[in-house]
Symmetry: D4
Subunit: 251 residues, 8 copies
């Protein structure tokens, strides 16, 4: 049950369309749905402003089917990350209205009831960082934000970044995705006033140690104003960016 659904229910009660008894029953639903192997957190949207997303990696397709069904029933929409193409095919067969975003490895079903405020700009340093950047961009768009992309703007060719600087400076939040040296978020933070969400990726030669090098660079950036999320965690970056954008809007 999302805030919109809650408001409608209460309005219906006020209008006499729904009896208090029935409303009570609707609300009596546990704040999570217990599937035995999982407890779906159905009130997360009420608490945090965004519905729970499903991390599909390592989950069996039949479990995913059950989870999707239950989430659609509770929320009217659902988003799955880290979904391999084969499982996506099975889910699309059952839910033809869903969409699979291949580069991002995300399946979305349903749409936000209304657009969310704030513009989120996603930057990728290199072409190998595209998968993670798309995970962030697709999530943020599905949450309801306006999303702008600038890819392959890493510091190896600074002019590619500077050329797009005017556009980037207009963003409410910048998500900067980078592997290897991970220097992009620091450089961006020194050039724009918006908060920067930094996402290290596991892209790189041996001594990147699976993204550790980029992660440390981002944490040690000499230009402050950067918040770092986990390696390759495009989804987490989108959630943080969305909270920032919505925080701005609530006043």
């Amino acid at each position: 049950m999302n805030p919109q659904q809650l408001k409608e229910l209460l309005a219906a009660v006020a209008a006499g369309a729904v009896s208090p008894e029935q409303a009570l029953k609707d609300l009596a639903e546990l704040p999570y749905a217990d599937l035995g192997f999982a407890k779906l957190d159905l009130h997360r949207e009420l608490r945090n402003g965004l519905p729970e997303a499903i991390y599909a990696e390592g989950k069996r397709t039949d479990d995913l089917l059950r989870i999707v069904e239950r989430m659609l029933q509770g929320h009217g929409r659902v988003l799955l990350t880290r979904l391999r193409a084969e499982a996506a095919a099975e889910l699309l067969a059952a839910h033809p209205e869903a969409a699979y975003h291949e580069r991002a490895r995300i399946l979305t079903c349903g749409a936000p009831s209304e657009p969310l405020p704030g513009s989120i700009t996603v930057l990728a340093a290199g072409t190998s960082d595209l998968g993670v950047a798309e995970e962030a961009a697709v999530c943020a768009a599905w949450f309801g934000h306006e999303v702008e992309r600038h890819y392959d703007v890493g510091v190896a060719g600074l002019h590619r970044l500077l050329d797009n600087l005017a556009a980037i400076r207009r963003a409410d939040v910048v998500v900067a995705v980078a592997g290897m040296d991970g220097a992009l978020p620091t450089v961006v933070a020194s050039l724009v006033p918006a908060p920067v969400v930094a996402v290290p990726t596991s892209v790189g030669y041996g001594a990147s140690f699976g993204g550790l090098a980029a992660l440390l660079t981002m944490l040690n950036g000499c230009a402050p104003g950067v918040g770092v999320v986990n390696i390759d965690n495009g989804y987490g970056a989108a959630v943080l960016a969305s909270r920032i954008a919505r925080s701005a809007a609530k006043r």
Copy 2:
């Protein structure tokens, strides 16, 4: 030269109080002041919204005196972090209008020309995290934000956090400071809709490895919506929180 000073200069020109020639000369100043051993970045406020702060650790007192003088001349105010008490005493002797915040190890001089929008709430998990939390809180307040503190609210006594939850939920941004297990930001992010800036501290027994344990916890939080800054970096947290609060306000 901060945006306010710029606006006033231009108004003075428009009003005929300052000749264009004089204005040109004032503006002709390099965007940095070259002290030989340092190039003070005087346009950072124009670019990023906040003036450059001075990281005092390892700097000689006479160098600090020169830097403070030059910054006051350029900006009208200055903030020094990681300042040991002895150096603070010398600086206070030269600038009696300044203030030294002992727990935070910060010296501030001057004040913001006008309050900045947004309310920033600073949480500390334990009493040993107070120094870092105060660094964040004092900076944020000096930037011009409204700041609220809730200290010693770590997960070892969850009721201390839950008791203050209603107040915390009102924040535009939450800065959560924690050492040891570093679990506080994750738990907070699961309970409030605001973006959470997480600051790991180097407090803890042996296997905290100087804050590495808390840092990794915060990066791996199962509740998204958290941006992590460097270990013990209260100042960096304040800058990120300020950018978030100002981003909200610009619409």
Copy 3:
């Protein structure tokens, strides 16, 4: 030879049903069975209270068949952990009375001669932690303990944990399994008086570094009362929990 078998042997001697000479011969068996490539520790149960379990990972199926046979001969029962499904099929063909627990990847054969005292509660933070949690739960149950499960109760949705708190507080020992931030055991230890056995899992995004993040969180928990075992080591958690439950019972 387990303690029960030893008691029976001695009773038989006392009753004249077995001659001292024969008993001597039975006892003369080496405390381990030398298979050449392995020395099965047949007195471990006498020494430590639990029979040796077989770690099947990396062992050839024919070796496993020989080990199972020899263990059944010595103890009347056997448990194999980390057993891949294909090898399980071959072992089940040879020992149809055995059972294979798929999620836990465990094969059990035989049952405890009598129930062991104490109730062990197994918690899993997320659905991806289920395999490890089941390894702990199946082992503990096979040892002879009463086992209760609460899955998907991680701190991302604290109400799921608090809803089940009354039940959890009744446990003699709590086994808390968590990947990612690994915060669950600390939070549980702050809420219940029982000892908590913490099991980090290798589940998570890049900077979990194969479970290192969760491991460090658990070692650094701000709430004391937690003992940590190796990453993904559900079996070790069950043995420790069993020792705790039996320790309680011996007085």
Copy 4:
């Protein structure tokens, strides 16, 4: 307010010696005492069975004095760990009834209302591990348990351990403290049926990396039944051991 105090209060109400109104007022106290810089968790004993201990490292002596006073008022007793000798002298001057345990660096004030069940045996591998072992032993004794010590019984001279094995096997819980290779807990766990609480210490040559080597050894012990706590964390070991001993006793 500890359970004993609570029972007495309720009995007094039942006996008419205290009015319900007065009892309500007594109980109305917040579950924590807010000192501004700290929120003392006064209900921890009700929740977890042991009062909060004070980690004195890095705290100022005057803060410690205030905390001790408030804890004595709330609980009638208090324990401080990691207390340097100079601060101890000041606290002893104010509270002559307190005692300072020099090797353990612990100050205790007051005693348990009644002995706790279970016998806890503390082992130290080498003489350099004594400080940490004493921290565990002094805490456990102050909690109310019977404590037995066997020091300098590391695996470099196995006979020193085997000589004391019969006594060690009688323990309800064994706390095994070791630096360097950290092999003691594993060897002990292979020889006794009791749960073993392992404490790595930071003692050792270069490649011990501040206790990391011992920590990893203990986590990787080939004999299960070991729960590991943080490096040098004797207090945490005592709490876990106490929980185990009390768990046994509650049936």
Copy 5:
């Protein structure tokens, strides 16, 4: 050309069977054979007492065939480590007199001209350490030493080690192979006077970190007299053990 071949050549010259000119030509051979992609070190035996062994991992089978041929021509014998079964089959087809040791993944061809002095005892802590232990044992035997094996004698069942102690104490060198906690070499070194060569293996649960835990344990052993080689490096252990045994014999 090994020392034996050299001695024979010089004897032949002394006896007039070979002309000095011919001897010169034989000796004129470069100390290495240049195959373009490799420079085989043919004088290593003269310098270090043992011929160069071939590390087969990652080498193409046809390259291996060329190397084997050239080594046999220069030394009369050859040993390959880390050889996968398929490549072994091809090599055996070309050199039917060779032997493939499956567990050790070693191919040997030819034999030492005379036995080397000293008895080398190889211990393995667990059955999963057998591959590495066999690599050490097969190499040592092929070098010409007397080799004795005691497998599955880890500290989880100390009696298995103590039962074989008398035999182990007779060794000139002990090679102790162990994964997981890696405690075996330390315990052995505390019980026998011979030098102990310790080999950590990559066997273990998550926090063994690919053998790092065992490696650190061995380096930090509280009983001195242990020399550590690389993780899983059975061959290196055999060479060190052989040097020790031969050093003893040269007086």
Copy 6:
């Protein structure tokens, strides 16, 4: 004996000024001077083009005095790095012609016989990196190169770097010194065609881990053309830069 001294000696022999016998005696000197506790490498200049420098850290002042004397005798000049001010004072008392460079912590005595070719530009990202940058600059100048400095040009204020770009592009080699994020060398390498020698410094907040973060950034730079030296190793950077500059000159 440096190449210049050697050339003069040979010329003197050719001119009859020095007898071959005397020259032989001069040359007969061992290529190192054995002081018992040290073997000074007097032919390093012949072999590598630069005389051996003395790493003064941890050396006793009297040992340093002996070394300086012997080096002056062999080479006519000497350079000491990492020299604390007190020891410098004693050395200056004995050798008034020497000079102590305080920020660089270097003592130099004597000068190059002739200038070396090539211009070396030293960059420092922040003012805290000055000590290391000066170590590089002072060494390079003493070797005989032309040295240019640009300090405080880190990526937090990109315009400070771009303003000086034209000058930097003229360098034959660039030495880029940076702590914290360590991004400067990568950005420079993307903007200039010269080889870049990168020096990470140990400057930074907690997660810089003593310079590890900057080191990894530099190794993972997305713009190639960078060679990295050890953390804080300004001297090593100067030697590498000098080799590069001289390599250029030899054609």
Copy 7:
């Protein structure tokens, strides 16, 4: 557009063969070609002296085909590293004039317009380091340098290195590739005056930790004059070596 093309264009304008208007249009091309998913940096050669190379790992074959076409159009030549054999086959089908270097996993297309100055010598310590060494050698040759190779000259057989020392000393730059202990670059730097580019490889037993051991050795070399690049990064070594060689030539 490379410098040669630029010179020709300007000459054509000077000669009247191309109108200024047309030249302007030719030059008006953006400094990068935006393919949507990638921004090809076409002015890198103007800026840094070498065209951008394509890192093929993880890129789809059809993307590679588009990139190759665009690069050939812009530069007349292209080089792809880390190209798997199957993709190479498809690219060769489309561009028969290209060449695939199997050991180096490189595809080259086109040639330098003129040879570059300076001789680059590539050393490999062992036969397992050949792939990385060839990546460096093939790149350097394709850039236009003279390249000399000495393989299998690691310190395990020092005579193999010393035998080739005279040749190695003639190099303008030495690229030294080594796995395992990584000692080769240090030893080489102590014997030759040229700058040494060190490339650690991920070759080795367990405790090489994917090349970390070799990397650290190279950074800690006791003989200065070494610049280190990333693990297995033969391409990066070639670029640095080329910059060094060209720096030498520009005077």
Copy 8:
């Protein structure tokens, strides 16, 4: 009681000089002396061939005095490592016959009853490694071995090593001590047939990480025949070298 003392006692019994009853009493002494805080292992010499040494670091002077007295009473001699100069002065006052070796930080008292076989050669790579090298050399000499030293023979000046090679090749065991790159043991092992005991030291610039770099180099040496001990552990190296030398002698 060492073997010599035991032999004498038994001879005295055989000769009637000591009654069996008295001998029994003498032998009845526990194999360790329990000082309460320490259990001195008096039979270590019988078991391992060398008496227990006392690691003085962190021990109080009065404890050291008691231990020294008890060791002298049991063994007739004693050795303390890591002894700070001030404590040494107090011990020398009480035991004027003892000797303090300043560089090695060792105090020795008493001498071996007879020389031990085998010649041990100790190498140090640089002058900063001297303290650790002397710890090894002084210990080995005190055990009773012939010891030869070659210091400052690291690979930065290979000729210093090669010059002394003939002497080094005569050793029964080589102890090679090195910090920084740690390459010395590998190079030595490639040139001599004796076993090499490698000791990494914590000497070096930042990325030596307290000796980790040298440690890894030594474990990954491409020339086999090396056994590694802990960082800075000169004593451990001496014990291993002594075991090797004595192993050789027992045949």
